[in-house]
Every structure is written in structure tokens, then in C-alpha cells.
Symmetry: D3
Subunit: 147 residues, 6 copies
Amino acid sequence: MSMVDVTGKKLVYREAVAEGVIRLRPETVRLIKEGRVEKGDVFDVTRVAVVLAVKKTSELLPLTHPIPVTHVDVGFDIPTEDSVKVTVRVKTIAQTGVEMEALTGVVAGLLNIWDMVKKYEKDEGGQYPYTRIEGVRVVSKVKSETS
Amino acid sequence: MSMVDVTGKKLVYREAVAEGVIRLRPETVRLIKEGRVEKGDVFDVTRVAVVLAVKKTSELLPLTHPIPVTHVDVGFDIPTEDSVKVTVRVKTIAQTGVEMEALTGVVAGLLNIWDMVKKYEKDEGGQYPYTRIEGVRVVSKVKSETS
Amino acid sequence: MSMVDVTGKKLVYREAVAEGVIRLRPETVRLIKEGRVEKGDVFDVTRVAVVLAVKKTSELLPLTHPIPVTHVDVGFDIPTEDSVKVTVRVKTIAQTGVEMEALTGVVAGLLNIWDMVKKYEKDEGGQYPYTRIEGVRVVSKVKSETS
Amino acid sequence: MSMVDVTGKKLVYREAVAEGVIRLRPETVRLIKEGRVEKGDVFDVTRVAVVLAVKKTSELLPLTHPIPVTHVDVGFDIPTEDSVKVTVRVKTIAQTGVEMEALTGVVAGLLNIWDMVKKYEKDEGGQYPYTRIEGVRVVSKVKSETS
Amino acid sequence: MSMVDVTGKKLVYREAVAEGVIRLRPETVRLIKEGRVEKGDVFDVTRVAVVLAVKKTSELLPLTHPIPVTHVDVGFDIPTEDSVKVTVRVKTIAQTGVEMEALTGVVAGLLNIWDMVKKYEKDEGGQYPYTRIEGVRVVSKVKSETS
Amino acid sequence: MSMVDVTGKKLVYREAVAEGVIRLRPETVRLIKEGRVEKGDVFDVTRVAVVLAVKKTSELLPLTHPIPVTHVDVGFDIPTEDSVKVTVRVKTIAQTGVEMEALTGVVAGLLNIWDMVKKYEKDEGGQYPYTRIEGVRVVSKVKSETS
């Protein structure tokens, strides 16, 4: 096992966009949209969780390199009445790509949504029959000599 | 926004099991199974990534409480020729449940698998047409007075 | 130099409230109140920064003990047209008090406000002639056998 | 909410100096000066706390960028018989300024002083009637093409 | 690979003492003793590094459990003219022993000494012909029902 | 005490190799070699612990600068029947050397081996009469204009 050697690679512009979806009960999605979740505004807290998680990627994934992230952008979307989508764009000037950073942001964001709506998703036995994270993928990766 | 107040709750036995799947090219799954991934043994590295991520949950998810985790167990499964499943069990004696810890372990594990097989999953344009994280869910949650 | 030995102390209910103020230009305070700060909702982001900082106290202050925080609550107030006050309440069942945790939350919150409104506070030379953090203090400390 | 995009900015020399004051009982200031604080040498421990906190800035303030800090310098001053001043200078070659890094160092330093002299500052009820952090500000910010 | 399950274990008093030695040039040891090392007082900075490292053990060693450390004590000794010994005592009330915490403190302390005296230890080629860490061991481990 | 000012230094290729040895009972070394240690494959887990520790160096050693590590390589050797040697190579393009990073990796690796074989090393009294970390040193340091 070893970290890929990127010593000789040039510092170039890198960008990656990743996304993922959390399936929730329609009532929960409605509470999120209307800002009525008791733990606070789900989108606001999640944006912060995403940005901090992107910056922690090299601590979480052993073989990734520390990256001087220059931009993180977080978007939300409600594609169906029972799901919320998180999209994360990361930019840098670095020797290696940032798709793992974007993906780490997406899953941290989806987990944070889950954490904030646990109360509405659990059944009487304390189980989660509906909640799922799905479709976590890299939407696009860009690498170019000029930013 | 605020952290739920668990001050008055009793310290009881808590357990949670979570799982999730990463979809990969069949060739990549074969390389993993045969231990021929260039970056190292995928299951071994992933186990470590999972355990460390479980212990980092309260840093990643703003509203979670610090938990004195007493056990983490990681399992792997190859349910189809194009997917790998990660299962994580977390135990504790605490005032609040550990499903977010188990889920954090699962997504960190799936992301680590992705990171280790990037090379085999990318197409010529550097994109990931097949790779997906799916079915991340809580399998079971237990809370009882005695462990 | 050494960490105070709390090994023999009883686990009892502890609570601390701390507060502090950031002085800003009246125009900046207005932008914050009206939610028109370009970097995002200042109160929402600050709440998250506070809660995460409280949990990081024992990493920042060398001689503090790790504490199983059970509750963090963050409040905002606009006492004058040119200031914002942050109040943080922390609870735990522990062998030692949590005033350093509450204070760490307050200063992290005030710094985060500063970071989000830098653009409106700087003069043409890039300096900060008005911005100040003042009045950071412990409002109250409670210790009792029962929570 | 989003992190400012600094991708296109040039790497230039940046420096920031910040300072702040902690008000203490005159007896406590005397103990600090004479090196008789039971928990250890306050200036020595505080210097370490400051340097480590400066390096942690991007973990504490969600919207700050990771910065390759090249120098941190910490100074102490006793401007009156009941206060201690902490001054922190941070240097880097980066795409964005380091005033938040210098400020983070200052407040971590002031909090560490508080933590080390708690015993002398508390009244019989365990409260802190005198202790305050005041005057935390950016003294100067420099940005230039050459260091 | 998995973390040992300590869920069913009783919370009892635990203590561990570890020590280790760094071999240095006699001139370097003299500079340390006389407090003339340019980077600062070696013992003071090292004490802080040790205490913080002890609290980070469960982040560094994947299979260790998070431990609520209740006391850390650091001692220094100059057993020969060309060596410095670091001794670390750690106490807790926990389900598992703290020898890995004490050992982590010792090696962090020894490495910090090395870092502070690099300048005096390097030869003209920038190599370290003398510097060595030796004799890192657990001096004693205690476990008892009462503290 | 202060961090050396490296602001004016050029970004050049840097490499450091460090090594160290852990003395164990011959039976324990045999179990490691044969992959029969109950806690898991010692070499695999240790490699991950080393790489993560290298990336954490500037958090552990107060006066070190954050370094954009570009490569980490970990090797194992069994020089005698009662010892295991860990060798770590670190590369970067930076303003300062990486020997502290390589050394941090070595000691984290040796401690992780210890943690994984505790059970086989302890005597009936729970003490460690044989286990020792020895010979931690910098094997070589390279600095050159071209990588």
C-alpha cells in the first residue's frame, strides 16, 4: 500500500463536481423545504458541514494527498417529493485531482441532513425503514493548464 | 440550530449496524477480490479508514455528541459481480445512539474503496461513468439496559 | 506544567455560560440583521462554528481535559447598532467544569462573524479600523449533584 | 454560504499582526510575571498554544482557506498591572490574507492564559468577577509582491 | 482487523508510565540544560507537545479506544551527558489501559526535542550522524478498583 | 519560542528516509510474519497508520510547518528473530525539510505494531518486560533543485 507519488506533477487547475441523494419521507422533505426542522435550517448547517469535510479529506482517506482547496460551492435540489440532492464543486491548483474532496463533501452533507431529521425518519421501534443515501457519483472532472 | 440536550439521559448499551454499496466495473471487483489492486489490499486499508472515521464522527457532523465508542467491526461482501458492500457495527455505553457513527464508517469505507481503484474506474477522459455509491442505510439499531 | 489531576473527582452536572461582543460598523450590523451578507447567513454559520469549536476545546487548550459535552446552545443579540453579542451555554456530566468550553465557543463564534464580514469592515488600505472583540467573559458557572 | 473563490489569485507575500488583552487580578498578573503559576510557565505554554491554533484556523473557521503558514511569532506585554497583552504575527506566501490566522492565535493564547490561572481568578462561588478578554484587533495587514 | 470489544468491561482506575531516551551530542544536551536553544525552552515546549499528543492517541493508533484522560504528567532527566530521558504518566477511569497513551506522549516528546535541536545535531551535509531515539518502553501499568 | 521563518526560502525538492525498530518476543515476530495476529494484518494496518501520521506532523510537533506531502512510502523488515524494522520515505516540494515527517511516520508505525501485539507481549502481571522501541534515526536527507 502506498500513496501515489505526485512529486513530479505540475501544479495545474483542477475542478470536480460530485452529487448524491438522500431518500426521505415526503413529510420530512416538506419540513426541510419550509425550514421547520427543529434542529435548525438544514441547508445552512449542511453547507458548513460540507465545506469543513472537504478540507478534512486527507485525514479521512489515507491515500489522498493534502490539497490547498481554493473554492468549495454547495448546492441543494429537491428532485422528487421524497429526496434531497446535494451537489459539491471543489477547485484547486494542485498536482492531483479533487474528486475525492468533492465526494467527501457530498457524503458529509447527506449524512448531516440525515442527522438533522432523524426524529422524523425513525419508526416507533427507532428504526429507519425509508432513509437511504443513493446515487453518489462524480458529475465531472476538469484539469487544465489555465484556470 | 442546536445540539439535542442529552444531559439527563441514562448511559445505556447502544448498538447500530449500517451498510452501503459501491458499484464498480466487474474487472475492478475482480482485482479487489484477488488482492491485485496496485495501491494495496483494499479490504485492509478500508477497515482502518472505517474505524478512524467512526471515531471522527463528532468532528464531521456538527450536531452529534462525542461518543466513547467501545467497539467497531467492519465486514465486506461482494453481492454482485459489479459491487462491493461495506457493513459497519458500532457499540457503546452512551446517552445517545450510534447510527450516525456507523453510517460515517460506511461512507468513509466506500469512499476509500473508490479512492483506491480510481485508476481502473476512470474512462479515457478521466471521468467515472460507472462508479456509484448506493443503498447506504441503517440495518438495525439496538438500545438496552444491559449489554 | 501539568494537567490538573481530576481522577478522583466525582462525575457531576456542570454548566457554564459565556458571552462576548464584536464591534462592527453599523452598516455591517444592518447587513447581518437583514441576512444580506454575501458569504451567507451569519447567525446560521456561526452557530455551527461554535458547536464544533466547543467540541475541539481539549485540542486547542493544552491543559484542558477531554469532556463528553452533552449540550451546546448558542444565542445572538444586537445590544447596540454597532455590535453583535454571542452567548454560549455548555452542559456536561463530568469531573471538571466547562467554562473553557463555553469561552472557546464564544471566541470561535466572534471570529467567524469577523471572517464573514471582512469585506464590509476593511478600509481602502485593507485595514480594520473599527472591528474589535470585547467583553469576553464567563456569565455563570453551575455545579450540582443533580442535573 | 460559500468559500470565496481564490483560485485565480496570485501567490504573494502576506503578513498580519493581531493583538488582544486579558484583564486579570493584579495578584494573578504578578504570579505570571514571576513564573509562580502552579500549572507552569504561562508564557511558554501559551506560545505553543498560539502556534498550534494558528495552524488549525481552517478547521475552526468554516469559510477560511487552508494556508501554508511560513512563520508565526508570539509576543507578550504587561500594559497595566491588571492585564496581559498577546501579539501574534503570521507570515505566508498565499492567495489570501492571514488576519484570521493571527486573530485565531491571539484568542487561543488569551484563552490559554485564562485556563492556566483559573484558580487565582475565581471567587468563592467559583465565578469570574474580574476576568475579561478585551481589545482583540488586527494591528496591521501587509500584502506585497516581494517578501 | 477490528477494535477489541470493551463494551462489557468495568470502568476502573488505570495508570501507565512510559519512558524513552533521545541521544544527542553533548553540546546539544548542554544547550538544552542551560536553556540556550534558539527555538525556545525545550522542556516547556515538549511538555505541551506531550500532553496534546496523549489526547490524540485514538486518532493516531487506529485500533485504540477514545479514553477520557484525567491526568498527564511529564518528567525530564539527563541520565548521561549525551542523552535526555522523557517520562510520561497517564491516569484515567476507563474500560481499557492507557499504556499506548503514555507511549504516544513519550515519542511525541522525544520527536519534539529532536525538532527543536535539529540545527545543532546536523552535520555539514545536513545529516544526523548522532541523533537516535532509544529505549522507549512501558515502565509500569496499574489497574485497580479504586483510585 | 518561535517557528523558524521560512517565508523567503525557495520551494525545492525534499526527501527524507527514517527508520526504527521494535523489539518483540520471537513468538510475536513469528505471528506477525505468518499473518496470525488476532487484531489483523500488522503490516497492512501499520502502513495506513504511518501515512496518516506523516500527514499529521504539523499538528503534533508545535514548531513544524504544514507541508504538502507528495509521497509516502513504508517498508518493513525483520532484521532479527526478535525485532521488526519500519522504514518511511517522505517526498515533497517545499521550503523546509521533511525529516520530522518521516520520523513521525516511523514512531507511529512502531507504536501501532505495539498496539496490535499487546496481548502477546504482556506477562501475567500485565507488564511489558521485553517490548522496546530502539534505533529511531534519519537514514538520509536529500534537498535538490530538481526532483
